[in-house]
């Protein structure tokens, strides 16, 4: 796919002479050092392309370290709107002496390299376009302060790229103004650095085919990371109690939420309609959520794998004592402390079954930032409706990288506070049985502590109880209660968001969820265009699986289940749900590298499997 992918008229003339122009289909990789302050420059670059109407995505690949180790930022522009990671690098910006040679060695022929002149990379290969840039000198033209200069070097490469790739300089300047909205002096310096880069690049001879041209595909869209989107979801779900313990990659979720809450939910008298508490650890964070949910608050916490493990004990209590709770799990790579700054979908099984005994939880699986918002908000309704913990599983890629998105829709439906009996209800009814299934959906009625009626109180415990919440070890009570809890999970199947299905009668089906979705979208096109293989696709958005999932598997001879972990965790859950006959159709396609999944990997794997079947 080295040919132009421009929507509409691709320009076949080639400024470098060697290859046909490649318009609006490229990936840029910036290699720097952790802590060197390249984040602003990379954001400006992404925004400038976005403002030109070209779909764009950006991913940070960073080490678990504060400063000093190599870090990469990859940016992908795609007229076809592909936002998954693309492993091939078209344009490398080599700023890090430690990795420069290796980074250059890894490029495919025809790629471009913008590099810091002293690194002297141009002699390394003859099949690349090299652009040496004296970054120190350019930054020095703008400021003599060593610290400022270090930062400006980054904005200078944005200017260089703007000239080389034909990114409009005014758009770069607009993006800088926005990035440094509250710091006029910094904005000024950065504009000067970008211009210096742009000017310098005028002396370079264009030798590569890559360009960006204005399109109109991003109008009205947002740029936001998944953690902020989840935070907004919680905000508009009317969250009232937030407890947490810091952990990468979930911390920024609560940090964003706290800022949003402080801006929107403090009255003129300075009083808040929310409480945010940083707990001493994840055990306590989850305990507070359970206490608050029991007492009627919309309560949540956010964590990642190691924190999830610590929450297991309370998750089981929440399930069994039937207490609403919302847990955002922004997945990183496990087992154990794993790769703290890398991405995976490795908590699916543990979250679904978190805690001992017959415990099962509701999972929501957003694939894009918009769903971080909508499913994030829906989690609160489901938790209260079902009186159980609900886990929203995102991941580092979705949570910490910025994505383009349509604006989030204002929630039209009123908050669902679930089955709660008021004092008036109790007066009418004369009393209630906390765990009696009066409606046949497995969900019993509850009262909130503080309800002013002598019959309101009940005794909550994690030990066996009868339907009036009295301690019981009777076999019938135990069995009836556990079967009712299963009935409740069946009710959940009909309440959780249904899968999104594209079923056009192909023989082969693909199932995926979460951020793997983006690679699947692209891989399906590749399979069709390159191999003539049509595929149907179902994207799951929740566990327990709604009925449509079984129907989809039943309709397809082979179903590839795509996910980012080693053990095919979702496929395992799915097989258990389907039973042996349909389970045989499930083909796990699990890949884990710590990097976001790319389409090539899937196209290769599915293509090979289909050939060899």
């Amino acid at each position: 796919m080295s040919e132009s992918m421009a929507a509409g008229d691709g320009d076949p003339s080639s400024p470098g002479g060697a290859r046909a122009a490649v318009v609006n289909d490229l990936s840029i990789q910036v290699a720097t050092v952790n802590g060197s302050g390249s984040q602003s420059a990379n954001t400006v670059l992404l925004r400038a392309i976005f403002q030109m109407g070209v779909p764009v995505s950006g991913k940070n690949l960073f080490p678990s370290n504060i400063a000093g180790l190599p870090t990469w930022y990859t940016l992908r522009a795609s007229a076809r709107g592909y936002v998954a990671r693309k492993p091939e690098v078209d344009v490398l910006v080599a700023m890090n002496p430690e990795t420069a040679r290796e980074d250059v060695a890894g490029l495919a022929a025809g790629a471009a390299v913008v590099y810091d002149e002293p690194l002297g990379l141009s002699s390394l290969r003859t099949d690349l376009a090299f652009y040496p840039v004296p970054f120190d000198r350019l930054a020095g033209q703008v400021s003599s302060d060593a610290r400022v200069k270090k930062l400006l070097r980054n904005m200078a490469y944005v200017g260089v790229l703007a000239r080389l790739l034909e990114i409009e300089l005014p758009e770069v300047e607009r993006a800088i103004a926005r990035q440094f909205a509250k710091k006029a002096k910094a904005a000024e310096l950065n504009v000067a650095a970008a211009r210096a880069g742009f000017e310098h690049a005028g002396q370079l001879r264009k030798q590569d085919p890559f360009t960006i041209r204005r399109l109109d595909l991003t109008r009205g869209k947002l740029i936001v990371d998944g953690n902020a989107a989840c935070a907004l979801g919680a905000l508009f779900a009317g969250v009232t109690v937030v407890t947490w313990y810091p952990i990468t990659p979930s911390s920024s979720l609560v940090e964003s939420l706290t800022r949003y809450l402080q801006r929107t939910r403090v009255g003129e008298d300075g009083r808040a309609t929310f409480a945010v508490v940083q707990a001493e650890d994840e055990l306590a964070a989850m305990g507070m959520v359970i206490g608050a949910g029991w007492a009627g608050a919309r309560a949540m916490t956010a964590t990642s794998g190691p924190g999830l493990s610590l929450m297991a004990e309370f998750a089981g209590l929440g399930y069994f004592a039937e207490v609403p709770a919302v847990v955002f799990d922004v997945q990183r790579v496990g087992p154990s402390t794993g790769l703290p700054t890398r991405t995976s979908q490795g908590d699916v099984l543990s979250a679904a079954l978190l805690s001992h005994g017959d415990t099962q939880h509701v999972l929501l699986l957003p694939a894009a930032v918009e769903e971080c918002f909508t499913l994030g908000a829906q989690a609160f309704d489901l938790a209260e409706r079902l009186q159980t913990p609900v886990f929203v599983l995102t991941d580092l890629d979705l949570g910490m990288n910025v994505w383009m998105s349509d604006p989030f829709p204002y929630p039209e439906r009123p908050l669902d506070r679930g089955k709660v009996l008021s004092k008036e209800d109790l007066e009418r009814l004369g009393g209630f049985a906390r765990y009696r299934d009066v409606d046949g959906d497995g969900i019993a009625w509850r009262t909130l502590p503080g309800t002013d009626h002598p019959k309101a109180a009940y005794f909550t415990r994690g030990t066996g109880h009868d339907d009036e919440a009295r301690y019981s070890e009777r076999a019938e009570d135990w069995e009836r209660n556990l079967l009712r809890l299963r009935r409740k999970l069946d009710t959940a199947r009909g309440l959780v968001p249904p899968p999104v299905t594209d079923d056009r009668g192909a023989e082969v089906g693909i199932i995926a969820y979460g951020s793997s979705h983006h690679a699947v979208v692209e891989a399906r096109d590749q399979l069709a265009e390159e191999r003539g293989l049509a595929t149907d696709y179902q994207r799951l958005r929740a566990y327990p699986f709604p009925e449509e999932v079984r129907a989809f598997v039943a309709r397809h001879a082979r179903v590839y289940v795509v996910e980012q972990n080693r053990d095919a965790q979702l496929a395992t859950l799915l097989r258990g749900d389907l039973g042996p006959e349909l389970a045989a159709r499930v083909r796990p396609l699990a890949r884990i590298t710590g990097l976001p999944l790319d389409a090539r990997t899937l196209t290769g794997a599915i293509g090979a499997a289909e050939e060899g079947r």
Binding site: G220, K221, L222, L232, F236, A237, G238, V239, T240, V241, T243, Y260, T264, R265, G267, G270, R271, T273, F274, A275, V277, A279, E280, D281, L283, A284, A285, G287, M288, V289, I290, G291, A292, G293, W294, A295, G296, A297, R298, A299, E313, F314, L317, P407, F408, P411, P414, L415, L448, P449, G450, T451, D452, H453, P454, A456, A457, Y458, T460, G462
Partner: protein, 346 residues
């Protein structure tokens, strides 16, 4: 209780008879100190006229933690996880700050598995009455030592404890709890006064109540047996609780007593047994607890009180109405707010 004279049932200021403050029938061993504590709690809530529906009872795991079933049936209860009651109580009060919370824990629950949550509860100054029913052993798992067992004390199995005890009161004072006391389940008068004062205090009231386990820790060689505690208990001061609504009759000669005014206007009157002991002096409290520890003294009484510190809930500056029941219009920002926030992301 059967009475020969058909007198009208006694009632408190809410018009509720004592029976409305009772709980279920205890399933703990007859004579267990925990039962006596439940009775004192029933009395305290009854006498103060606290509406039982406004109360939440929370506990961890252990014989002690079963006790919320044995008082105040009309109050919501949460028998949570071993050592994790503090976090659940914190969450419940965040959700509804109008609740009166009483937490019941054991010494194993508090000082071993739960010590992490305990210390953070103390430093947050959550408004809760936190009672440790302290018997020096794990009752429910049949007699292992807990972290409050004294050095040299002997278990029923004959094992001798070699590790120094954690003094939960010293720990609580050190960490910022604002009402810290120790009592004995068999000392009806002192325990009642302390419980009532604790309920009138706004902040964390930590009461370590020595509560002998008649089944696993009431033998010769135990320092938490009835006989031992009765023999060695030494009160720091004599206490009487003066409710806000009662006239204050002068019982003691001035200079020998100290009144501590609590948040609802009631007072804890301390008649000095120990010369010059002022429980408002935190450093003094710590030193006195340390000397008691050194001398092997079972010191009881109010060690420390601070009625001026803000609670966790004060610090959060919450609206008056419980967060739990705020209506949608108070908690879900408007469409315009969403538009504004999204505009910033464009």
């Amino acid at each position: 209780m059967a009475d020969s004279t058909p007198a009208a049932p006694r009632a408190n200021r809410l018009g509720l008879p004592l029976a409305e403050y009772r709980g279920g029938k205890s399933t703990l061993c007859a004579g267990c100190g925990h039962n006596a504590i439940s009775e004192r709690l029933v009395d305290a809530f009854y006498e103060l006229g606290i509406p039982p529906e406004r109360v939440v009872k929370l506990s961890g795991i252990g014989c002690s933690s079963k006790s919320p079933a044995y008082f105040l049936s009309r109050a919501h209860a949460f028998n949570a996880l071993h050592g994790r009651m503090p976090s659940v109580a914190t969450g419940a009060l965040l959700a509804n700050q109008g609740l009166t919370a009483v937490g019941v824990s054991g010494d194993g629950d508090t000082a071993s598995i739960g010590v992490g949550q305990f210390v953070h509860l103390m430093r947050r100054n959550l408004p809760i009455v936190y009672v440790v029913e302290d018997n020096g052993v794990y009752g429910l798992t049949k007699g292992q030592f807990s972290a409050t067992a004294d050095v040299g004390s002997r278990a029923k199995s004959g094992a001798v404890n070699e590790l120094p005890p954690i003094d939960t009161c010293a720990l609580a004072v050190e960490l910022g709890a604002t009402f810290v006391a120790r009592s004995f389940s068999g000392d009806k008068r002192q325990l009642s006064a302390l419980l009532k004062a604790a309920l009138a205090h706004r902040g964390t009231s930590m009461l370590d109540v020595l509560s002998p386990c008649v089944t696993f820790n009431d033998h010769e060689g135990s320092t938490k047996s009835f006989a031992y505690v009765k023999e060695h208990a030494e009160a720091l001061e004599e206490l009487s609780f003066v409710p806000a609504r009662e006239d204050i009759a002068v019982e003691y000669a001035p200079g020998t007593s100290l009144d501590v005014e609590l948040h609802d206007g009631s007072r804890l009157r301390l008649s000095k047994l120990e010369e010059g002991y002022d429980p408002r002096d935190r450093i003094r409290a710590l030193t006195r607890l340390a000397t008691a520890q050194q001398r092997g003294e079972v010191l009881t009484g109010l060690f420390y009180v601070n009625t001026g510190a803000p609670t966790l809930l004060d610090q959060l500056a919450l609206v008056d109405a419980p967060l739990a029941t705020l209506p949608e219009r108070a908690t879900r920002p408007s469409r315009e707010v969403l538009e504004t926030l999204l505009a910033e992301l464009r």
